[in-house]
């Protein structure tokens, strides 16, 4: 979906919406969901009360202007945190809305009395209920998600996938699903509505993003607990500071206590935590994957094993002819011509690829009076009978060999050898004969997608094992598996094989993902930790999986893993950054608190901040503005580099740990220089 990917990070309308939301989110009930920020909320109220107290004449708490400034900064800290969440929501919603736009109210041709009904009533799409049946003809926009129960049609799905080539959807098979908003280009189909209005996957996704049904993921809960305990530790620090200060005969203002507290607690990660989670789902959506829960995205980062279908993921569509091997004594040109002739009527992709490889002008042949012999399961061969009595056949090795030997002709040994070679190299041999004499062999090969080896190597570095699933025989499967660089394969796979493989891996403690579309994939999709159903798949498959890929792109799994990893990493690095920041804040605030009674502590003021007031203000301001500064990082996610866990840890520790210690020293000093101009 190329158009959506370019959405800039901060679009004007989104900003406006998020700005409004950040005030609405000040509702205490909303705030309570985030324990860290809720304590800031309380701190803000305390500062408001202190300001009023001073306005009424209290003199021991410093100037009104100073206290008011602290209050305003705290208020902004809250707004910034709310804004982070709001902008993440707004972006996710905008993304979902652009998908939903495709399904604005369209008229639906409802069949009043079920499938056999002749009577058509025009209703609005929003009035369609689950189980209703509607008719779509060429040119119609499909009003609702549903399953084709009768007919076949070509459909333009570009509205959701961005792919302009039409796709074929038909009843009965694994490609029976249609999506609301797509357009029927030819033929007519009858479709049964599969979802209640407002309950489509997209609707569910929007609800997730908007927060109505968003639940904290297990990992988010664990992190919240850790952050809450840090918050408590710092609460103890600040509360016990009061008797300590009394002991040291140092009066400390309420503003200083509140400032110290707010600076120390992990507001940075606290403020950005939910934004990070939403952004994860949003990134999935940008990759055109609808997730049914935030947990699924998180789990994706932990995946150990990916089950990938060979066709479409590892190889490009179908086999292609790659070589012609004429038998001894057969002229190469003659053989090539025979190959092309045998495939003239062959509409399969393999047949077409033979003609492509032969590169002969087929129009030059006089085929008007020729008879084409169709492929049948019995003969396992196809071909052409030319007017002059020449019979050309093309087929499997043993089928042609039978034919040749039955006619009393010898089957050339070098051709048999060639067939064996091709088989063991993962190719499919087709033998061509003329008048029951073997002419030679055509080699068909799977074409491995360019760049797929690199992707698998990348996955291996992430610690993810790839498994190729194919209907091929074990020999061919092994060859392709090795060539593509997958770690394991399931050959001659039946749906239950996938299921068994998943169960086996899970018993070993691994997390498994698979992609599927057919109804017979549904159990495996449900069993997998991350099951990605193709949007074109059956309703059962989509129901069973926990993600739906709108592009029907089997390589999408790889992207999903990275999105999951990014999500966890962003949380980890920002937590580290947030905690590391405290070092500098301590060095700003603690000397400022005690400098009057213990002048020697001036030595700890290593940033040489202007005055106690400016030191405290600078620390709080830094604490506030770091939140919006980090919003882009929270939304985009920390880049994942497959360089191995230890190297990645070193890199992130250096960047966000050491960086997290140094940055605030510089930031607070700079802010202090500015603040000093006003004090």
């Amino acid at each position: 979906m190329s158009t959506n990917k370019s959405t800039s990070l901060f679009e004007k309308t989104l900003l406006k919406q998020a700005f409004k939301q950040s005030f609405i989110k000040l509702n205490p009930r909303t705030m309570l969901k985030n324990p860290v920020m809720f304590t800031v909320y309380i701190g803000t109220f305390i500062m408001a009360a202190v300001c009023m107290w001073i306005a009424m004449g209290e003199a021991s708490q410093g100037s009104l202007a100073y206290n008011l400034t602290v209050f305003i900064i705290l208020f902004f800290t809250l707004l910034f945190a709310n804004f982070a969440e709001a902008i993440a929501e707004a972006r996710g919603k905008a993304q979902a809305d652009s998908l939903r736009k495709t399904r604005e109210d369209t008229p639906a041709k409802k069949l009043a009395d079920g499938i056999g009904s002749k009577e058509i009533t025009l209703v609005s799409s929003s009035q369609l209920l689950k189980g209703d049946i509607f008719l779509c003809e060429a040119g119609d926009t499909i009003p609702m998600d549903g399953e084709i129960i009768q007919g076949i049609a070509t459909i333009d799905e570009s509205a959701i996938t961005g792919e302009s080539a039409p796709v074929i959807r038909e009843s009965g098979g694994d490609k029976s699903s249609v999506t609301g908003g797509t357009k029927v280009l030819s033929d007519r189909i009858k479709v049964r509505v599969t979802t209640e209005p407002g309950e489509s996957f997209l609707d569910k996704m929007i609800a997730l993003v908007e927060g109505a049904s968003r639940q904290k993921t297990p990992n988010e809960i664990a992190l919240t607990i850790l952050l809450a305990s840090f918050t408590l530790i710092f609460l103890i620090v600040c509360v016990t500071l009061k008797p300590f200060a009394d002991y040291a005969n140092t009066p400390i203002t309420i503003a200083a206590f509140v400032s110290l507290y707010v600076c120390l607690i992990p507001t940075t990660i606290g403020g950005l935590l939910s934004a990070i989670g939403i952004a994860g789902m949003d990134r999935a959506l940008r990759a055109n994957v609808i997730t049914k829960s935030g947990k699924a995205v998180e789990t994706a980062g932990d995946l150990d094993t990916l089950l990938l279908d060979k066709t479409g993921t590892i190889t490009i569509g179908n086999r292609k002819a790659t070589h012609f091997y004429p038998a001894n004594g057969v002229d190469a040109g003659t053989f090539t011509e025979a190959c092309a002739l045998s495939s003239l009527a062959d509409e399969t992709p393999e047949g077409k690829s033979i003609i492509e490889l032969a590169n002969i002008n087929v129009n030059g042949f006089d085929t008007n009076s020729a008879t084409f012999i169709e492929f049948t399961a019995e003969t396992r061969s196809s071909g052409i009978d030319l007017p002059g009595g020449v019979k050309i056949r093309k087929g499997a090795f043993d089928a042609i060999k039978n034919m040749v030997t039955k006619a009393g002709n010898p089957f050339p040994e070098e051709t048999a050898e060639c067939v064996r070679n091709i088989s063991s190299n993962g190719g499919t041999p087709l033998v061509v004969s003329r008048n029951n004499i073997a002419l030679g062999v055509i080699e068909l090969q799977d074409i491995i997608k360019p760049g797929i080896q690199e992707r698998f190597a990348r996955l291996r570095k992430m610690g993810v094992k790839t498994v190729m699933v194919t209907g091929d025989n074990p020999l061919t499967a092994k060859f392709i598996a090795e060539k593509a660089g997958v770690d394991d394969f399931i050959a001659e796979a039946k749906p239950e094989d996938k299921m068994n493989y998943i169960k086996k891996e899970q018993q070993g403690g691994k997390l498994v993902a698979m992609m599927g579309d057919g109804t017979n994939d549904a159990p495996a999709l449900a069993q997998a930790d991350v099951g990605v159903a193709m949007n074109s798949g059956t309703a059962a498959a989509k129901e069973a999986g926990n993600m739906v890929d709108l592009d029907n792109d089997p390589t999408k799994l790889i992207e999903i893993v990275e999105i999951g990893k990014q999500l966890l990493m962003t949380r980890g690095t920002l937590t580290t950054f947030s905690i590391a920041n405290d070092v500098a804040k301590y060095f700003a605030i603690v000397p400022a608190l005690f400098i009057t009674s213990i002048p020697a502590l001036q030595a700890l003021n290593i940033m040489r901040l202007h005055s106690p007031e400016s030191a405290i203000l600078s620390a709080v301001i830094f604490n506030a503005i770091i939140i919006p500064l980090l919003i882009p990082l929270a939304l985009k996610g920390v880049a994942y580099k497959p360089i191995g866990a230890s190297a990645l840890l070193r890199r992130n520790l250096l960047l966000y740990g050491v960086g997290g210690i140094i940055v605030p020293f510089i930031g607070i000093k700079l802010i202090d220089m500015l603040v000093a101009l006003f004090i």
Partner: protein
């Protein structure tokens, strides 16, 4: 090289050389393999039979902790009542009186929890009977409790999936019969030969050169002094602890006592590596802990050897370093090193007055106790380090983009919650306690207690603050050393530090054992290239950074107000 430093390095190297085979032996012994101490089998079987214990019964983490807590609870009552009535019991040649209830409460807890905070003086506060049958007894069993809980952790780490953390009674008994008792006997004999008394006679009377008559306390001390160090207990027979010429007669016994307290904590690290067959992991922990100790010890030794800047200003030559409060036979460097080892290892036996060390040395001693996980106490040091590992695993795991896992077990909300609570707890106890003390000192100075709050502190200002902060830090860390200069035998300090000790002991044991049990129960996740390697140097550095950051952030203000302010002032 300076001979003072040579002595320190020699002690350390010899200890590690002894700890390695001991660790290997302990791993084999606790795994139930054949060892040279199998001749103890009949003794143990006899103990199990009279106690009615099925020593082979597997225990899950809850059963293990229940067994551990119930027997510890019993000991507290036992000790409490004996201290209360000790004057009526035999073996009291000096006629020492009963303890007051609050002191008895404090002392009973103090020895059960391996803390050995002493608000009494050994010469006058206890009898030979309570020294032997309460204090020395508890010094054995509290050390064995710590070791048993560490072995429970080993069992949790060893297996892919298990509920069984081992049988508490069996591990506990073998820790005494096969580790603590044999080694203590050897140390006690060496001490006795070097001049530590081992007699049941009461005070001796000598006439000094001036003609004055002096009563000199003595007693069967050698055995207790051996286990006091070996079991990282630290409570002295005599009031001045290992600075006393009977308790620690010379430099050699100083080395022996120092080595004895380091021995088991280091050996347990090696035992971990052998037991769970992850030697690299154990070496990584050993390395990180040793670096941590060096960071604390090297500057301390330097400060102590350089002498007091205040005296320097007055033009007084201090060629031997800061000798105030130190014994000439040990010297500044050795005493400085001892002060760090005894605080970092939670022994708390002292050979010099910590109150008199340089301000920043005091800060280092406090930091050592606040961290409490570099080697650490018998068994519990490793448990404390495990909590830091869990937090490091959680943050580190996130940073590499996977749900955090430790040795194939996912670390989730419940484990994080326990680890966070344990971390939170010490911050609460130490700072809450100090705040309470500071509050009484400033606001209720005239409270009518045995020692009025205003009279608690020998020194006002920052140093006095350090004394109070040190006391709670020591109680919470189950260290037991005192900064001293604090009037601590009164109801306030006896009660508050008593509570600090009991919570500071058991919650940091319950937490890690529970986490180990919960994790071990989980499904095993095989390691992949994307898994955080917990035996790598990077992870070691991360754990170290987390230890430093958590400690620094939690305790920066009190450290600034106490030792740092004194140092700068």
């Amino acid at each position: 090289m300076n001979t003072e430093l040579t002595g320190i390095i020699l002690t350390f190297v010899l200890t590690v050389l002894l700890a390695f085979p001991l660790g290997k032996y302990m791993a084999k012994m606790f795994a139930g393999e054949r060892t040279i101490t199998d001749f103890m089998n009949p003794v143990e079987r006899f103990i199990y039979r009279i106690a009615g214990i099925d020593a082979n019964k597997p225990m899950n983490w809850k059963q293990f902790l229940m067994a551990m807590l119930s027997i510890n609870c019993l000991w507290i009552f036992y000790a409490f009542f004996l201290f209360l009535n000790q004057s009526h019991l035999p073996l009291n040649p000096d006629g020492n009186p009963d303890m007051s209830p609050d002191l008895s409460f404090n002392t009973a807890i103090s020895f059960v929890v391996n803390c050995n905070l002493q608000h009494y003086s050994g010469e006058s506060g206890v009898t030979y009977f309570t020294q032997l049958f309460v204090i020395t007894f508890l010094q054995f069993v509290s050390a064995a409790t710590g070791i048993a809980c560490a072995v429970a952790l080993f069992n949790g780490l060893k297996h892919k999936t298990t509920e069984n953390l081992g049988n508490f009674w069996s591990i506990f008994t073998r820790a005494i019969t096969r580790v603590l008792l044999p080694i203590s006997i050897v140390i006690a004999i060496v001490l006795a030969f070097n001049g530590t008394p081992a007699s049941f006679d009461g005070k001796d009377t000598i006439t000094t050169l001036q003609g004055d008559t002096v009563n000199v306390s003595r007693g069967p001390a050698a055995g207790m002094i051996a286990i006091k160090h070996l079991g990282t207990n630290g409570g002295g027979w005599f009031g001045t602890n290992s600075a006393h010429p009977f308790e620690n007669p010379g430099y050699f016994t100083g080395m022996l006592e120092l080595a004895a307290q380091m021995l088991i904590p280091i050996a347990l690290l090696f035992a971990l590596g052998f037991y769970i067959k992850r030697k690299k992991f154990a070496w990584m922990i050993f390395g990180i802990m040793t670096i941590g100790i060096l960071i604390l010890a090297v500057p301390t030794i330097n400060w102590e050897m350089s002498g007091s800047p205040a005296l320097h200003k007055m033009g007084i030559l201090q060629s031997n370093g800061a000798m105030e409060g130190k014994e000439v036979r040990f010297g500044a460097a050795f005493s400085g090193f001892w002060s760090i080892m005894t605080t970092v290892i939670s022994t708390g036996s002292v050979n010099a007055m910590h109150d008199s060390t340089m301000p920043m040395s005091g800060a280092m001693q406090m930091l050592a106790m606040l961290i409490n996980a570099f080697y650490g106490g018998c068994g519990v040091g490793l448990l404390n380090y495990y909590i830091y590992i869990i937090i490091a695993v959680f943050i580190g795991g996130l940073m590499v983009g996977r749900t955090p896992e430790f040795f194939g077990h996912k670390v989730e909300a419940r484990e994080v919650k326990i680890a966070a609570l344990v971390t939170l707890l010490s911050a609460f106890i130490i700072k809450g306690g100090t705040a309470l003390a500071a509050y009484y000192f400033t606001s209720h100075g005239h409270a009518d207690w045995a020692v009025k709050p205003e009279a608690w502190l020998n020194n006002p200002g920052s140093h006095g603050f350090s004394e109070m902060f040190y006391e709670f830090t020591s109680a919470n860390a189950n260290n037991g050393s005192g900064f001293e200069g604090l009037g601590d035998n009164n109801i306030f300090w006896n009660l508050t530090t008593g509570l600090a000790m009991i919570f500071g002991r058991f919650l940091p044991i319950i937490g890690p054992v529970a986490i180990a049990g919960l994790l071990a129960k989980k499904k095993y996740v095989p390691e992949t290239a994307g898994t955080l390697k917990t035996d790598s140097l990077t992870f070691g550095v991360l754990t170290f950074a987390i230890i430093i950051i958590i400690t620094a952030l939690s305790y920066f203000p009190p450290l600034v107000l106490g030792p740092i302010a004194e140092w700068l002032g």
